[in-house]
C-alpha cells in the first residue's frame, strides 16, 4: 500500500515514451489522489525526487518525467518490472471549486503533467467550459497531444506547432474576446509551467480581476512540511502547496524571484533553475 510513510516498492507496469525528453511511467497500484498532488519517487542508490501524478485511475497512476539531470534521466530509462519506491500523495492539489462555469488552464512544457488530470476531471457532463492553452519550446515538447476531448490552443516558442509565441498572449486574447457582460470572464485560471510564465499569468489575472491558481516547484526533502527545504517566502510549498491561489501569491515573498538551493542558500530563480544535483 502506498502511504506517506516509508516508500512502498512498486513495479513499473509500463513506460510510454512521448518524445526523447519525456516518458510516462505507469504503476498498477491504487493511490489516493486529487489533481495537483505529487509523490516522492525513490530509486534506491540514486536519489528521491517529487513528481506530479499525471495520470490517475482507481488502480493505476502515472508520472511523466522530463529527462533533465541524473535522476530524471535514470527515471525515463526504467521499464516494465523495474522497481521504484513511492510515498505520498503529498500536497494540497488544485481547488476545483464548486459550480465553475468557465475556466482556463494554462500549461507550459512539463507543467501539463499536474494539469492534465484536472482537465480530465473538468471534462465531465457537469464540468465547466474548459479552455486549455498549452505551450512548449517546440512540437516534441508538447505533452499528451491526443489526451483531451476539448480542443486546445497550442503555442510553441519556435512555431513548430500552433501559434508561435507565448501562452500568455493567447490568455490575454481569450479574456478580451469574452463578451463584456461576462465578468469575470473566467471563474478560475489554473496554471503550471516555468515560474516566470506563471507569474505573468497571475499578473494578467490580477489585472482582469480573475482568481488564479499556480503550482510551484522548489527543492524538496521531506515532502510533508517539516524540513523547510522548500519554503518560498512564508509558504511551505510541499505542504501548503504546491498549488497556491491569488491571495497567497499577493503576499508571497520570493514568488518568481528567489528559491533555496540544496544548501539552503537563497538565490535568484534563474540561478536555481541552472543548478544541478550531483
Amino acid at each position: 500500500m502506498i502511504t506517506q510513510l516509508m516508500p512502498a516498492m512498486v513495479k513499473v507496469a509500463e513506460r510510454k515514451i512521448h518524445s526523447p525528453e519525456f516518458a510516462t511511467l505507469y504503476i498498477d497500484e491504487p493511490i489516493d489522489f486529487k489533481p495537483g498532488q505529487f509523490v516522492m519517487v525513490w530509486i534506491p542508490g540514486v536519489d528521491e525526487k517529487p513528481y506530479t501524478i499525471s495520470h490517475h485511475s482507481p488502480d493505476r497512476f502515472g508520472i511523466t518525467v522530463e529527462a533533465k539531470g541524473i535522476f530524471s534521466r535514470k527515471a525515463v530509462s526504467l521499464g516494465p518490472g523495474d522497481k521504484i519506491g513511492i510515498r505520498g500523495p503529498f500536497g494540497n492539489g488544485f481547488n476545483m471549486g464548486n459550480g465553475h462555469k468557465r475556466v482556463a488552464v494554462v500549461a507550459g512544457g512539463c507543467g501539463m503533467a499536474p494539469l492534465a488530470p484536472l482537465v480530465e476531471a473538468f471534462q465531465t457532463d457537469n464540468g465547466p467550459e474548459t479552455l486549455l492553452i498549452q505551450g512548449a519550446r517546440s512540437k516534441s515538447f508538447l505533452l499528451y497531444p491526443d489526451r483531451f476531448t476539448a480542443k486546445a490552443e497550442i503555442c510553441t516558442d519556435d512555431g513548430s506547432k500552433g501559434y508561435k509565441g507565448f501562452v500568455t498572449d493567447i490568455l490575454v486574447q481569450k479574456i478580451k474576446a469574452l463578451p463584456a457582460n461576462l465578468a469575470p470572464g473566467f471563474d478560475m485560471v489554473y496554471t503550471c509551467g516555468p515560474e516566470i510564465m506563471m507569474a505573468k499569468v497571475f499578473e494578467i489575472c490580477e489585472a482582469h480581476g480573475i482568481p488564479c491558481q499556480v503550482s510551484l516547484e522548489r527543492y524538496m526533502r521531506c515532502g510533508f512540511g517539516v524540513c523547510g527545504a522548500c519554503v518560498c517566502g512564508h509558504a511551505v510549498v510541499c505542504k501548503d502547496g504546491p498549488v497556491f491561489g491569488s491571495k497567497a501569491l499577493r503576499t508571497m515573498a520570493d514568488f518568481n524571484t528567489r528559491a533555496l538551493l540544496k544548501t539552503g542558500r537563497s538565490v535568484p530563480l534563474n540561478e536555481y533553475a541552472a543548478w544541478r544535483c550531483q
Binding site: Q4, L5, M6, P7, M9, M40, W42, P44, G45, D47, E48, K49, K83, G85, R87, R221, C222, F224, G225, V226, C227, G228, A229, V231, G233, H234, V236, A253, D254, L260, L261, K262, T263, G264, R265, S266, C277
Partner: protein
C-alpha cells in the same frame, strides 16, 4: 503565557526546534505568529554544504527518522537573510555547528555580530561524520567548545545536547561550568536505520538517521530529568513533544521552555497555538502555574 528566558521576554514558552522549517525570515516569523515564543534557525555551518541525497526524512508514523546532513549556505553566505532579520519584531535563536573548536568559534563570532537573541551550539547532530556529535558525547570536548565560543559571543549561549551521550547530565554540567547559559535537550535519538526489504537497502541515502517525534519522548523526558538534577541553568526540553500534556510532562521533568519539531508534521504549523492553549487549559483546570510545576517530578524524590 509570557515567559522570561535569560533576560528576554518571549510571548510563549514554546521553541521551534532547529532544522525544522526555519529556513528563512518569513517562515520564522510565521511560526512566531502562530504561537512560537522562540523560533530557532536551521543550523549554520562553517562552509557551504548540501547535506545528503534523498531520502533524507522519513515519517515512521510514530516519529521520524532523518539524515538531512546539516545543509547550510555557510555562515559567510547569508548576508541577505541577516539583512532581512535585522528589522524583525521577534526573537531568534541562531543554531550553529562546526567540525572543530576553531570552526565553532569562527562561525559563532560572525553570527553573534549579526544580532540573534541567542546562539545555540549544535554539538549533537548524528547525521554527519565530521560535524557535531563527537563533541556532545564527551564532557571535556563539550567543555572546550562551549568555553571557547563563550569568549567571542555577546548573546546568551545555549548548548544543545545529544541523548547518545552515556551521561548527558555530566555533559550538561561540563557545559554549565564552561559558561553555557542554558541547555537544550535533546537532539535526535538513536541513530536508527530502516531497511526496505524489497530493495534490500537502507531507506535513507545516508543509511542511518536520527529519530525524533513521539517515539523518543520518554528519552527526552529522562534526559531533561537528569540534567535538571545536575545544573542550575534553564533547560529547553524537546523531543517528541506534541501536545499540552507532553509539554507539562517535560516541564515537570525540569524544562523551562519546550521545543517542538516533529509535531509540526502531525499537527501543522498551528501546533504552537494548539499546545499553548492546551497548556493553559491544563494549568487553569489544576489551578497552578508553569513556575509551580517546573521540576515537580523531582519534589517527592528530593
Amino acid at each position: 503565557m509570557q515567559t522570561t528566558f535569560l533576560g528576554k521576554t518571549l510571548h510563549t514558552p514554546l521553541v521551534l526546534a532547529s532544522g525544522v522549517l526555519g529556513s528563512n525570515k518569513a517562515i520564522l516569523e510565521r511560526v512566531w505568529e502562530n504561537g512560537c515564543g522562540l523560533p530557532t534557525m536551521k543550523s549554520i555551518g562553517p562552509a557551504p554544504r548540501e547535506g545528503h541525497k534523498n531520502p533524507t526524512v522519513i515519517d515512521l508514523g510514530n516519529g521520524m527518522i532523518n539524515a538531512v546532513g546539516l545543509p547550510s549556505p555557510g555562515y559567510l553566505n547569508m548576508e541577505e537573510e541577516w539583512q532581512e532579520l535585522s528589522d524583525r519584531a521577534f526573537p531568534i535563536n541562531a543554531s550553529i555547528y562546526g567540525g572543530s573548536v576553531d570552526e565553532f568559534v569562527r562561525v559563532a563570532e560572525f553570527v553573534s555580530a549579526k544580532g540573534p537573541d541567542f546562539i545555540e551550539l549544535n554539538i549533537s547532530c548524528p547525521n554527519s561524520d565530521q560535524h557535531g556529535m563527537i563533541f556532545g558525547v564527551n564532557a571535556q570536548s563539550s567543555h572546550d567548545v562551549v568555553a571557547a565560543v563563550k569568549k567571542v559571543i555577546h548573546v546568551p549561549l545555549i548548548a544543545k545536547l545529544t541523548p547518545a551521550a552515556p551521561d548527558i547530565a555530566g555533559i550538561a554540567k561540563a557545559c554549565e561550568d564552561a559558561g553555557a547559559d542554558a541547555i537544550c535537550a535533546i537532539n535526535t535519538a538513536g541513530p536508527g536505520m530502516v531497511i526496505d526489504i524489497e530493495s534490500r537497502s537502507p531507506v535513507l541515502a545516508f543509511k542511518k538517521g536520527g529519530l525524533s517525534g513521539p517515539m523518543i519522548k520518554p528519552i527526552a523526558v529522562r534526559c531533561v530529568y537528569d540534567i535538571f538534577r545536575s545544573v542550575s541553568i534553564p533547560i529547553i526540553g524537546l523531543g517528541g513533544i506534541s501536545t499540552g500534556t507532553d509539554a507539562i510532562e517535560i516541564i515537570m521533568a525540569g524544562a523551562s521552555l519546550v521545543g517542538i519539531g516533529t509535531a509540526v508534521r502531525y499537527r501543522g504549523i498551528t501546533v504552537f497555538d494548539k499546545v499553548n492553549k492546551e497548556i493553559n487549559d491544563w494549568l487553569a483546570a489544576h489551578g497552578t502555574t508553569l513556575e509551580e510545576i517546573r521540576g515537580a517530578a523531582h519534589r517527592e524524590a528530593l
